[in-house]
Each structure stands twice: as structure tokens, then as C-alpha cells.
């Protein structure tokens, strides 16, 4: 079924057209880009229907590199996992394309934006389709390239260019590991083809498996912003908001999760690797959530939330609950894209204001946005019945039966998630207006073209979980669908313990939301007190501020001091010194060597003569 290739082909064509004829097309760029995505999405639906009926297949486009004993083909592996990923990428991508028509309306780089966006969807669909590691790597880099281009889209802003650079450098670290992993796989298996590698993994020595799996995970950490390589993602919010929604929340950053799930056969061979995945995931989930508690930039809150949720997914993978991880990936794509797009709608309505302290009481002015975003928030925190509820519960259940410590931490993370999410909702939409009169006057709901995608995503958030996520004796329907690819660990899901866990997590979430309500809704807050440590408040808020304060004093300050110390002494002195020193040495050599090029014929002739003498002398000496 080689028509699979049409799925990436449409966005590629769209990207090329917009790139080449961008100047002519100008404001009509979306008439190219959006239909391309729609076509791609329909293609994905067809493919999905195909795999639904239980067919997994590979289709080879052509042989790419052949060198003696090594052959790499451009091959697509289409199985349920691919089908799910394709639907998410093209479906969410399509909605975000539509949304961008409104959001980017006045931008001078309109056509360029759609070209990059299409290029991204092309790369991402190829990444998902790839049937071997080399192809995966190529498009892994390609999505990275699109990401840098889009982070630095407003390159006249210095911070945007800096953020692009940061993302590039941090990802390099991860890619380095990924590259080594691929070489190792080649050495160990003699092939890079998924099917052959995963088959061979069954008999792989555990030490080798550990090495390969950890290096692969290093790559995943870079792309999916896991501690300690998470630092680039919050800065990536410099890009336009639809980009944040599509690339830095819904799709690209989940590539790491996809990759680990895809290569689970390798990870399964090594308990060490699985434990590392689990604990990096758990630590990231909690760590990022704590940072999210105090952010004042609406997009940064969501960015840390994304990092945290990715941590949940990795935790699930580390526990061997692959389907739970992928399920969370899917639901997260819906509600996080929704939240980002909603945030974008707010920013759009406030003419570029991103600071939560200068928002408030937007609900009456932006009804659709407020409503959909609240749904998204409920989805994220895991409100019973919504998407996040089912997927997060799966992960928590798996953690409960896998590792109690991880479960406790993840539960704490869920509490924090509930708190910061509703802190955002309350501050943005409900508590009294804190912006200037002028801005408040002009605050307006976004155009239809932006609100419709919000509604669609909200509907998905409501429906997705209940549709495929209700567990039964044999796991969720979603897990059963993925079972040909990802092993389902016959769960102790049901039973009294399961119900108990469910209730507990609902209570925790409710507590988080209530805390947020008490702190930000029960009494009006002043703009300057939000997110400001050391401002001691009274009454019920006191305790919460205490957390903020503690967080600031016990974690942020020392961390900051440590990071300053590390940055000054270690980074500047050692790493920077090493890197810059190396760079300087090369440049110095370069400047020195170029002086040899004097421009005088005689010197050139002398050099040639010297070379000739050396050559002849060498041959005589042999």
C-alpha cells in the first residue's frame, strides 16, 4: 500500500509551493497549506482504517544507500502505533494550520510560516512512518531543523534567535547520543531495520542492550525535554504560539516517547535502562510541575506543564506500561494543543500580552476561549470523564503496582498540575481585571477561524478518553488496539485497589483546584503579588504563599545560586573555556595559516617546490 507515501507528500508539496512562490502567494498561503494538511489527514484516516482491520505492513519506496554489506531503504512501517501517531500529527496539525490563518494574519512572513509548518508536518509524518533507524534519525534531525526555524521565526527579536540557538545546542547533546546508539545498533545487529533489530533484540546481551537503550534514551531526553536536557523547551516559547502548540506540545516533543515505545524491545532487555527511563520521567514530571507553580508568563506555565506531562509518559514507558504512555501522548496532544491555542487566543485578544499578572476577567469578553480552555484544563488535570483522567489514571495505576515511590511522586505531581493549571485559568479569565483600561477595552474574542479549532479540540478532549480509554478486564480498548505492537502487561487494573486509586487521584486533583481557587479566587489578588515571593499575605493564602516562599528559598534561590556558581565557575571557566578555547584556537590557526597565502607567485612556487622535494624524497626513502 504505497499510497501511504501520499501522507507526507502533500505537506511536502505544500511547503515547496509556499517556499518557491511565497512572494506571489503571500496572504493566500493557507489556501495551499491547509488543503495539503486536510489531504494528509484524510490519507491518515484511510491508513488508520486499514490498520484498524488488523493489518500491519511495510512498504518500501526505494533503496536509499547501498554500500557492499549495508543497505538502507526508505521504508515505511505501518502498524497500529504508526496509525495512531499519524492521526494525531495530521489531525492536530490540521486544526493548528486552520488556527494559524487567524493568528498569523498580520505577520509579514505569512507564506514562510506556512511553508515551515508544512515542512514540519512532512518531516514528522516521515519520522513516524520510518521503518528503520537511519531514516528515523534523518527526520529526527529534520523536525529539529523545522523547530529551530520556527523558534527563530521572529528572528529580529534577539531572544528568539537566542532561543533557537539554545534549542539547537541542547538537542545536539541528545542527538550525539542517538547517533552513537545507531552506530552501536549497526555494529550489534548489522542492520538498522526495525523488524530485524527488534527480532534480534530478543537474544541481545543485556550489557549491550543497556548501552544502546541508554544512548537512545539520551536522544529522547533531548527531543522530549527531559531533565537535564529540558532547558530549551521553555525558551522555545519565543516562537509563534501555533508553533508552541503543534511542535513544542503536541507532536515533535513526543517524538522521544514514540521512539522509546517503538524500540521497547531493546529497553525490555535491560532493567537498568527501564529504571533510568522511569526515574528520569518521574523526576522530570515533579520537577517541571514545581517550576510551573510560580510562572507568570502564560506560555511558560504551559511549557513547564508540557515538560512535566512528558515526564509522565516516560514514567509509564519505564514501568513497561507502553500503551498507557502512548495513550497519554494522544490525549495530551489534544488538551495541550487546546491550552496553547487558547493561550494564543488570549494573547491575540490582548495584542501580544503574555503576562498572567496583566490579565484577568477575560471570561465575559472571550467566552469561547474561556470555555474551551477550561475544558482543556480539566482534561489536563484529569477531571473524571475527560481525556486526561483516563490516561493519567492508567499511568498512576501502573506506577502503584510498579513502584510505590514513583506513584507517590507522580500523585504529588498531579496535585501540582491541578494547582498551576487552574491558577492559570483563574488568573487569566476570572479574577478581576488587572490590565490597563485601554487594553481591557480592546480585549476581544478571536475570529471564528481561531475559535473553531479550539472547539474541535475541546470536543476531542471530552470524548477521546471515554471513547477508547475505559478499562476492562483486558485493558483499555486503546491498549488492545496497540497490542500487536506494544505488549500489554495483564493488569491488576480492576478490583478494589483500582477504584481506590481512582478516587484518590480525583481527591488530589480536587484539592489542587480548590487550593488554586482559595488563593486566587476567594479574595481578589493584586497584580504585583502574583508570582512574587517574599510578599507575605494573610489568612488562608498564607500557607500557599509559604509554599511559594519555600519553593523560592529552598529550591529556586539555592538552585539559582548553584546555577550561577556553576554558570560562572564551571560553565564559563571550564566548559565555555573549553569550547571557546577550542574555537579560538581554530580561528587563531585559521588566521595564522591564511597568512601563508601571501599572494606572491614566488611563494606559491616555492611551496610547490618544497612539496615536490618532499614527495620525491619520500619515494626515495621508501
Amino acid at each position: 500500500m504505497s499510497t501511504v507515501w501520499l501522507i507526507p507528500a502533500f505537506p511536502l508539496a505544500g511547503a515547496l509551493v509556499n517556499m518557491v512562490f511565497g512572494r506571489v502567494i503571500g496572504r493566500s498561503a493557507h489556501w495551499i497549506a491547509v488543503p495539503a494538511l486536510v489531504a494528509s489527514f484524510l490519507g491518515s484516516c484511510v491508513v488508520f482504517a486499514r490498520v484498524w482491520s488488523g493489518q500491519a505492513f511495510t512498504t518500501t519506496l526505494f533503496t536509499w544507500i547501498v554500500a557492499a554489506d549495508f543497505e538502507t531503504t526508505v521504508v515505511a512501517l505501518v502498524d497500529p502505533l504508526t496509525g495512531v501517531m499519524l492521526l494525531v500529527v495530521t489531525g492536530v496539525g490540521m486544526l493548528i494550520h486552520v488556527y494559524s490563518i487567524g493568528y498569523m494574519h498580520d505577520d509579514p512572513g505569512y507564506a514562510r510560516f506556512f511553508a515551515y509548518l508544512n515542512l514540519f508536518v512532512f518531516s514528522m509524518t516521515m519520522l513516524v512512518l520510518a521503518g528503520n533507524f537511519l531514516l528515523l534519525y534523518v527526520f529526527w534531525e529534520a523536525v529539529g531543523l523545522c523547530s529551530y526555524l520556527l523558534i527563530g521565526f521572529w528572528y529580529t527579536r534577539d531572544s528568539a534567535a537566542q532561543a533557537g540557538k539554545k534549542a539547537f545546542i541542547v538537542n545536539r547533546v541528545g542527538d550525539f547520543g542517538f547517533g552513537l546508539a545507531i552506530m552501536w545498533i549497526w555494529i550489534a545487529f548489522g542492520t538498522l531495520d526495525y523488524v530485524a533489530v527488534f527480532k534480534g533484540a530478543e537474544t541481545l546481551a543485556p550489557a549491550t542492550a543497556t548501552g544502546i537503550a541508554l544512548l537512545l534514551f539520551m536522544g529522547a531526553c533531548g527531543k522530549s525535554a527531559q531533565v537535564p536536557l529540558h532547558v530549551w523547551l521553555p525558551d522555545a516559547m519565543e516562537g509563534p504560539t501555533p508553533v508552541s502548540a503543534l511542535i513544542h506540545a503536541a507532536t515533535m516533543v513526543t517524538a522521544g516517547v514514540y521512539m522509546v515505545a517503538r524500540s521497547h524491545a531493546l529497553f525490555e532487555r535491560s532493567t537498568v535502562a527501564l529504571d533510568v527511563v522511569l526515574w528520569v520521567g518521574v523526576i522530570t514530571a515533579v520537577f517541571a510541575a514545581t517550576i510551573g507553580l510560580v510562572q507568570t508568563d502564560i506560555k511558560r506555565v504551559l511549557a513547564y506543564s508540557t515538560v512535566s506531562q512528558l515526564g509522565y509518559m516516560f514514567a509509564a514507558l519505564g514501568l513497561g506500561a507502553y500503551t498507557a504512555g502512548i495513550f497519554h501522548l494522544v490525549t495530551h496532544a489534544f488538551f495541550k494543543a487546546l491550552l496553547f491555542l487558547g493561550a494564543g487566543s488570549v494573547i491575540h485578544g490582548l495584542h501580544g500580552e503574555q503576562d498572567l499578572r496583566k490579565m484577568g476577567a477575560l471570561a465575559p469578553r472571550m467566552r469561547v476561549t474561556a470555555m474551551t480552555m477550561t475544558i482543556g484544563a480539566l482534561g489536563l488535570v484529569g477531571f473524571p470523564g475527560l481525556a486526561g483522567f483516563f490516561s493519567k489514571d492508567e499511568i498512576l495505576a501502573a506506577a502503584f503496582f510498579g513502584s510505590r515511590a514513583a506513584w507517590a511522586l507522580l500523585l504529588a505531581g498531579a496535585f501540582m498540575t491541578a494547582f498551576y493549571t487552574f491558577r492559570l485559568i483563574f488568573l487569566a479569565f476570572f479574577t478581576g481585571p488587572r490590565m490597563s483600561k485601554d487594553v481591557a477595552h480592546h480585549a476581544h474574542e478571536s475570529p471564528r477561524v481561531m475559535t473553531w479549532p479550539l472547539i474541535a479540540l475541546a470536543a476531542l478532549t471530552v470524548v477521546a478518553g471515554a471513547a477508547v480509554g475505559i478499562p476492562s478486564e483486558h485493558g483499555t480498548p486503546f491498549a488492545r488496539f496497540l497490542s500487536p505492537v506494544l505488549p500489554v502487561h495483564e493488569g491488576e487494573h480492576g478490583g478494589a485497589a483500582g477504584v481506590m486509586l481512582l478516587v484518590l487521584s480525583v481527591i488530589v486533583v480536587a484539592a489542587g483546584i480548590l487550593l488554586a481557587w482559595f488563593m486566587y479566587m476567594a479574595a481578589p489578588v493584586k497584580a504585583e503579588t502574583i508570582g512574587q515571593p517574599r510578599t507575605v499575605l494573610v489568612r488562608l493564602l498564607l500557607n500557599a504563599w509559604y509554599v511559594d516562599w519555600l519553593y523560592d528559598r529552598a529550591i529556586v534561590r539555592p538552585l539559582y545560586a548553584l546555577s550561577v556558581f556553576l554558570a560562572r565557575v564551571f560553565d564559563l571557566g571550564v566548559i565555555d573555556g573549553l569550547v571557546n578555547g577550542l574555537g579560538r584556537a581554530v580561528v587563531w590557526w585559521s588566521a595564522g595559516l591564511r597568512r601563508l597565502q601571501t599572494g606572491y607567485v614566488v611563494n606559491y612556487a616555492l611551496t610547490m617546490l618544497a612539496g615536490a622535494v618532499i614527495f620525491v624524497a619520500y619515494f626515495l626513502a621508501r
Binding site: 534519525y137 581554530v586 595559516l593 597565502q597 612556487a605 621508501r622
Partner: protein, 481 residues
């Protein structure tokens, strides 16, 4: 009565077509109309016919003139590379010459003669033909480099190229003389037979050393590279494109044939020397390129570095190594000709835009050109899935398999260094505000066609290299039997 020797001009057919077109262009130059617009078209037609002819002759091996001229698959592969280089150069020239007011019939005639010389070089089976081919190619290029008679830089480039080139020819010829003296023949096969019978002959090894000086100059490997930056900078950009691609490919064609056929017995000797030359060449090229701000000069050093990479394949040897060099030359020809072509289409009010600063913010004003140049540069860096990546993959892969791990490590490190100066240009184009002098894009249909061909070439070679790599291997395999 001396019997008439068999004359098999068929073996020279592609070169003769190009040569004949050159003569035709000269004649057409003499007759009205006075405008020279059509001459570029005539030249292009000749090259395209030769190209098609070469392709159609694939697998029809011909030997002629007592094995002095060999039209085997190896020669034909290079004919195709050279014809592409020449065709791109002609396409780039058409509007470029008019813009600079130096349109003339000689230009195309010389370009065609030079191309014929390159093709002769590729099908040489005898050191005498190597000498004639090199001279035919070089003498035309010397003049072409000085085409801008009123520019000091152009004259200087021409003079430097000529004096140093002739100097190198002196070494080459003396090397040929010594090898002739030692083996009694200038024919590759007979040299091989004689050299195998008397291994380690002093005269042969000295001759080999002197030959390598001559070839080293033509491919611009260290320490015979110093002419390249000056000539590339001073020569008209369309000529630079030809010097950087066609002449280099032709010299490599002859070099590979000489080393692997005629002097195979001395392989242990020359491979060690070339190991060092490869390492030094790529390092020097890349390191010095970092300090360049003139794009043409930077590409000159970059092309020196690429010669280093290609020598890696030659050192690795065998069908995989030599095949990788052929594939790389094909990829490199498209990439480099394209990069020079893109530069040629950008102009400042006071001349050509060659400083990297001129390219600041180009992506905003001319997104297509910026993207095109960006892709050529990315291919030079070796980013998948462009031609440069696959080429390097084959080269370094062959070196690893042949056991030259350290050379590969040096090569990979060099690729990493090289990324710096290529990406700097891309950063200027995409992430800087335009500065200083306004640059504009020269409207040129032919130039656009040339860039499109080169672009399709690098993408095609990058995306589906397998058939072309197969052809390259098929072409070199008989040499190494």
C-alpha cells in the same frame, strides 16, 4: 609504404563533438549577426549532444590509437560529470557575460575546447594523452580566467594560474619522461606490466613523485593548492565554477587511472603519501576557510577540503573507495557549481556580491535564492538527505572498511569544523538584518535553469543515490581487475 594505421575516431566521439562545436562557435563568431546571443545556445547544444552521446555509448567499450584513447564506462562516467559541469557553466555564463560586457565568441569556444580537453583526459590510456588533455584543458582555462581584461584581479588570476600551472606541467612532464625511461612506454598497461616486473625502480618512483606534483596542482591538494583561492576569487565566477568542478573531475579521472592501472604496483608507496596529503589537505582547507569573509575564496578553500575527502577514497582503494570518489565527484560537481551559480546571481550596485555581509537578510528579500544557496551549503556540510551526505557516507564508509580508522576520524572531525563556516553563511542569510549595501538578484532565466538542474541533482543524488553509486562502481570495477 607505411600502412595506414586504423583510425577509430569513435573512441573520441564525445570529445570530438564538443571540440567540433567549439570550432563551429569560432566560425559563427566571424559571421554576422554581430550579437553573440546565440553562441551560448550553440555551445550548450553541443555539450548536450555530447552528454547524450556519452550516455548512449554506455557499456560500448572502445579502444583506439594503440590503446592511447579508451572509451570505457569509466571514461563515460566522467564525460557525463564533465558535460554537466560545462553545461552548468555555459548556462550561468549567458547572462553573466552580457551583464559584464564581455560577450564574445572566444569565450564559448575556449570553454568548449577546455571541456574537450577534460574529456580527453578522462579517456586517456597513455601518459602522452594525459599531457595533451591537461594542456588543452588548462591553456583554455588560463585565458578564460583572465576574461575580464579590464579588471586587475582577473588578469592577476590568469597570470598566477598560468605561471604556476605551467610550472606544475614542467614537473608532470619530467615525471612522464622518467617513467617512460624506466618502463619503455607511456602506455598505462605497458607501464603496469614493466613496473610489475621491476618493483621499486628508482626512476619510476621519482617519476611518480613528479607526476603527483602535476596532478596535485590540478586537483589543488596541499601543498600545491595555493593558486586556487586567488584564481577562484579573481576569475569570472562562471569560469570559477568550471575550474572548481570540471577541471578537478578530469584531473581526478586521470589520476585515478594512472595510480590504479599504470602504477598499481607502487600502491603501498603512494597510498601512504596520499594518506598524509589527504589529512593535511582537508584540515588546511577547512581551517583556513573559517577565516574567510569572501564567499568565492571560502568556497575555494572548501573545495580544497573536499579534495582531501576524495583522496580518502583513493587511499581506501578498491572498487568501493574509487567508486565513492566517482560518486562524490558527481555530487560535488552539482553542489559546487550550484553554489557558485547562486553567488553569481547576486549583485551589488558596485559589482559582484561576494562578501558574506552582503548576504545578511537575503532570505527576507529573495527567499528562493537564499533557500537554494542554503541547500547547496547544507549539501557541502553533509546534511542528510542531500548529495553531500551520501557522498561522505560512501567515502568514509570505504575508508573504515579498508581499515583507515584514523583517516576517517580526521575526516569526520573536519566535517564538523566545516559546518561552522558554511552555517555562518546560512545564519547571515536567515538570522541577520540586511546591512550596508543593497544587493539585488540578477534576473537570468538561464542562470535559474542552471540552479534548478543543480538543485535537482543534489536532491536526487541525496534521496536515491543507489543507482548512481552502482554506476560509479560499475565504471571503476574494470580498472581494478
Amino acid at each position: 609504404m607505411i600502412p595506414a594505421p586504423p583510425v577509430a575516431l569513435g573512441a573520441l566521439l564525445p570529445a570530438l563533438i564538443v571540440f567540433g562545436t567549439g570550432v563551429l562557435v569560432l566560425l559563427l563568431d566571424l559571421v554576422p549577426p554581430r550579437t553573440k546571443d546565440h553562441l551560448g545556445g550553440v555551445a550548450l547544444a553541443g555539450i548536450v549532444i555530447a552528454l547524450l552521446g556519452s550516455i548512449s555509448l554506455w557499456n560500448h567499450e572502445t579502444r583506439a590509437f594503440r590503446d592511447m584513447v579508451l572509451l570505457d564506462n569509466y571514461a563515460l562516467f566522467f564525460h557525463v560529470v564533465i558535460c554537466y559541469a560545462a553545461a552548468l557553466a555555459v548556462l550561468l555564463s549567458i547572462d553573466y557575460l552580457r551583464r559584464n560586457g564581455v560577450e564574445s565568441g572566444e569565450y564559448y569556444a575556449l570553454l568548449l575546447f577546455s571541456t574537450a580537453g577534460m574529456m580527453l583526459l578522462a579517456s586517456a590510456g597513455d601518459l602522452l594523452i594525459v599531457f595533451l588533455g591537461i594542456e588543452l584543458m588548462s591553456l583554455s582555462l588560463y585565458v578564460l580566467a583572465g576574461l575580464f581584461k579590464m579588471r586587475l584581479a582577473s588578469g592577476e588570476a590568469s597570470m598566477k594560474y598560468f605561471l604556476l600551472g605551467a610550472f606544475a606541467t614542467g614537473f608532470l612532464l619530467y615525471g612522464i619522461a622518467l617513467i617512460y625511461g624506466a618502463t619503455g612506454s607511456t602506455n598505462f598497461d605497458r607501464i603496469a606490466a614493466a613496473a610489475a616486473a621491476r618493483p621499486r625502480d628508482t626512476l619510476v618512483t621519482i617519476g611518480l613523485g613528479l607526476l603527483l606534483v602535476g596532478f596535485g596542482f590540478k586537483i589543488s591538494s596541499v601543498p600545491f593548492h595555493m593558486w586556487a583561492p586567488d584564481v577562484y576569487e579573481g576569475a569570472p565566477t562562471s569560469v570559477t565554477a568550471l575550474i572548481a568542478t570540471g577541471s578537478k573531475a578530469a584531473a581526478f579521472a586521470a589520476l585515478i587511472r594512472v595510480l590504479t592501472v599504470a602504477l598499481r604496483a607502487a600502491q603501498p608507496d603512494w597510498s601512504v603519501l596520499l594518506w598524509a596529503v589527504a589529512a593535511v589537505t582537508m584540515t588546511a582547507g577547512n581551517v583556513i576557510a573559517i577565516a574567510q569573509s569572501n564567499l568565492k575564496r571560502m568556497l575555494a578553500y572548501s573545495s580544497i577540503a573536499h579534495v582531501g575527502y576524495m583522496l580518502v577514497g583513493l587511499v581506501a582503494g578498491g572498487v568501493p573507495g574509487a567508486g565513492a570518489v566517482l560518486f562524490y565527484l558527481l555530487a560535488y560537481t552539482f553542489t559546487t557549481a550550484g553554489a557558485f551559480g547562486a553567488i553569481l546571481l547576486v549583485e551589488r550596485s558596485d559589482g559582484e556580491a561576494v562578501e558574506v555581509g552582503d548576504y545578511a537578510g537575503l532570505a527576507r528579500r529573495h527567499p528562493v535564492l537564499a533557500a537554494t544557496l542554503g541547500l547547496f551549503l547544507l549539501s557541502l556540510v553533509g546534511i542528510p538527505p542531500l548529495a553531500g551526505f551520501v557522498g561522505k557516507f560512501y567515502l568514509f564508509g570505504s575508508a573504515v572498511r579498508a581499515g583507515y580508522l584514523w583517516l576517517t576520524v580526521i575526516g569526520v572531525l573536519n566535517s564538523a569544523i566545516a559546518a561552522y563556516y558554511y552555517l555562518r553563511v546560512i545564519v547571515y542569510m536567515y538570522m541577520r538584518e540586511p546591512e550596508g549595501v543593497e544587493v539585488r538578484l540578477v534576473p537570468s532565466f538561464a542562470g535559474g535553469v542552471a540552479l534548478a538542474i543543480a538543485l535537482v541533482g543534489i536532491v536526487l543524488l541525496g534521496v536515491m543515490p543507489a543507482p548512481f553509486a552502482d554506476l560509479a562502481q560499475v565504471a571503476v570495477a574494470p580498472l581494478l581487475r
